[in-house]
């Protein structure tokens, strides 16, 4: 960890910049005082996201980060305050977007998800979470190389974005996994929407090298947010993930949405409700024993029937 810097930009510049940059800096900018209280950014590095405290961020760190993410650095002609603002804006964008696909990243997704689950708890509007995974993505990487894999990820990202409404959030969850949050999505349409996405991806032709085209498919798992009751975003993701796992294990290139509670009672259930009792009377069925109301069981349903 770096030693704590003063918030004075001139001070930062002196300690963190190369000599040349420092000279350039001093020639162009007046010293300006910046106050960052609790502002931070997150940088997606290859290993794990790093939280950078902006108070400790140095100008050349910021430049390096943006350069690394092949973001264009703002022009120094715009003045000290605007330059820093532009730098911060770019860093914020960097912290919320997946650089490869241009989709929102996992962090942004988590924020939207956390908010959406609260909205559903209050409004009761059904919201669907889809988790999507490219089938046999490893094969693409292994057979055509990583640039081909990247091209596939980008093509899938583009198709996903084209399939949803502006209010929906498409994000890259990590690796070849994507997520889509669909607010106000009626339960009767959820499957259709997911199926349309699946079909669009399977119809896609990706050019991975000059003259080389491949096709990919995706598996989709989905779950609705619980309505009227508060739950957690983690639980919601888990439920969608279980469905994705189901879609994978049922043969891939398919959609599995967690069944909504069905109000109707099926004929089979009714049959069992009024059929013979095959279960032993479990002791726990009554909260307390010895209150005099315990009686024999098992014969009633036949009589009712």
């Amino acid at each position: 960890m770096r030693k704590r810097q003063s918030d004075d930009v001139s001070g930062k510049a002196k300690s963190g910049m190369t000599m040349q940059a420092c000279c350039e800096y001093q020639a162009k900018f007046e010293p300006v005082r910046l106050e960052f209280s609790t502002l931070g950014i997150v940088v997606n590095s290859k290993s794990a996201p790093l939280m950078v405290d902006l108070r400790q961020l140095q100008l050349d760190d910021a430049r390096a980060l943006l350069g690394h993410a092949s973001h264009q650095l703002p022009s120094v002609e715009i003045g000290a305050t605007s330059y820093l603002q532009a730098l911060i804006d770019k860093l914020c964008e960097l912290s919320l977007k997946d650089p490869l696909t241009g989709l929102s990243n996992r962090r942004f997704f988590q924020n939207v998800l956390g908010r959406e689950i609260e909205v559903v708890a209050r409004s009761g509007e059904p919201a669907l979470l889809l988790m999507l995974d490219i089938d046999f993505f490893k094969k693409v990487n292994d057979s055509y190389g990583h640039p081909a894999g990247d091209a596939v990820l980008q093509a899938v990202a583009k198709t996903l974005s084209a399939c949803v409404r502006p209010m929906d959030t498409v994000a890259r969850f990590g690796g070849e996994e994507f997520v889509i949050i669909l607010p106000s999505c009626q339960s009767s349409y959820g499957f259709q929407v997911a199926e349309r996405i699946r079909a669009a991806v399977s119809a896609m032709i990706v050019t991975v090298a000059p003259g080389v085209t491949i096709r990919v498919t995706i598996s989709i798992g989905g779950a609705y947010a619980p309505r009227w009751v508060r739950s957690t975003a983690e639980l919601w993701v888990d439920r969608a993930d279980i469905e994705l796992y189901r879609a994978k294990s049922e043969g891939r290139n398919r959609v599995c949405i967690e069944p909504q509670p069905i109000l109707a009672v099926s004929a089979e259930e009714k049959h069992l409700l009024f059929g013979p009792l095959s279960m032993d009377d479990p002791g726990w069925i009554e909260s307390m024993v010895g209150d005099g109301s315990v009686g024999s069981s098992g014969s009633l349903m036949k009589r009712v029937n």
């Binding site: 960890m1 770096r2 609790t38 502002l39 931070g40 790093l50 939280m51 950078v52 405290d53 400790q56 988590q110 924020n111 998800l113 956390g114 689950i117 609260e118 708890a121 409004s123 009761g124 619980p226 009227w228 009751v229 508060r230 739950s231 957690t232 975003a233 983690e234 509670p261 069905i262 109000l263 009672v265 099926s266 089979e268 259930e269 009714k270 069992l272 409700l273 009024f274 009792l277 095959s278 279960m279 009377d281 479990p282 726990w284 069925i285 009554e286 909260s287 307390m288 209150d291 005099g292 109301s293 315990v294 009686g295 024999s296 069981s297 098992g298 009633l300 349903m301 009712v304 029937n305």
Partner: protein, 278 residues
């Protein structure tokens, strides 16, 4: 270059504290109408009051309330006036003959038969405002599985499903339980079977429902849905008499079999809601 400990704690926002169902709130519900839900709520409240509990029954059947009919009470100020801001909550609370308090929905609540965010908030405010003043709050919900019913039930720490041995009632009770498990992740649901002909019939019905649940309603792996049989209320001509006279069974005929069964049920519920640590 990073210092996680001093970084903004945005991660914390991602795990909202789940809204706990309110303690000491018991929702009385059923799939089918006309199984004696309101009758049981009112008499149960009287029985609990007799045991020294401070009880309030809230007519949560906003669209089609009839607790007023059962209790023969027609107050000028009702929940409707509280919802519309015409009266304060305290003004709408009425003392019922059985020694408990009631909050009646009143007419004109049809507009509340659909759950909108406003209705939800009004409801939540009212119930949380009542809680500190009572030992037990009973929510007499409507029949069916509407949004309002489900929401009212979601506020309660315990839910009591009323069924009768009639096949239609059983089917509807089963459907209700299914929804409560599916939509509200409830794992324990309490049953009371009304109008049973013989001792043990209720327990058999609960066991039968449990058997079907085990087959068709899967919670999560490793999690079981349990129905707890809280008691039977036997068929008793006194009930009809009391209902027709619009009297509480607990006060007019406290010694009849149905009243004794309700007393027993009250004892169990008191134990469950009050004595048992939350």
């Amino acid at each position: 270059m990073s210092d996680v400990s001093t970084s903004p704690t945005a991660e914390k926002e991602l795990t909202p504290v789940p809204l706990k169902p309110l303690g000491k709130v018991l929702a009385v519900t059923s799939g089918k109408g006309g199984v004696g839900k309101t009758f049981i709520s009112a008499n149960l409240a009287a029985a609990l009051a007799k045991r020294g509990q401070k009880v309030l029954v809230l007519d949560a059947d906003l669209g089609l309330a009839n607790l007023d009919v059962v209790l023969n009470l027609y107050p000028k100020i009702t929940l409707h006036d509280v919802f519309t801001g015409k009266a304060k909550l305290e003004e709408a609370i009425v003392r019922a003959p059985g020694g408990f308090s009631v909050l009646l929905a009143g007419s004109g609540m049809v507009e509340y038969s659909r759950l909108t965010p406003n209705v939800r908030d009004d409801f939540l405010h009212i119930i949380s405002g009542l809680l500190p003043h009572y030992d037990i709050v009973l929510l007499d919900t409507g029949a069916g599985i509407s949004d309002v019913v489900l929401f009212a039930v979601s506020l309660a720490s315990e839910v009591l499903v009323v069924a009768t041995p009639e096949p239609t009632s059983l089917t509807d009770a089963y459907a209700t339980i299914k929804v409560l498990v599916g939509e509200q992740q409830r794992r324990i649901i309490r049953m009371v079977v009304n109008q049973t002909a013989r001792m043990g019939d209720g327990r058999a019905i609960t066991t039968q429902l449990q058997q079907v649940l085990d087959r068709f309603v899967v919670a999560k792996p490793g999690e079981k849905v349990r129905l707890i049989h809280m008691g039977d209320i036997p068929v008793d001509p006194s009930v009809r008499q009391a209902v027709m006279r619009r009297q509480l069974l607990m006060t007019s005929m406290p010694g009849c079999p149905a009243a004794l069964a309700i007393s027993q049920l009250a004892g169990k519920l008191e134990d469950m809601l009050i004595t048992r640590p939350q």
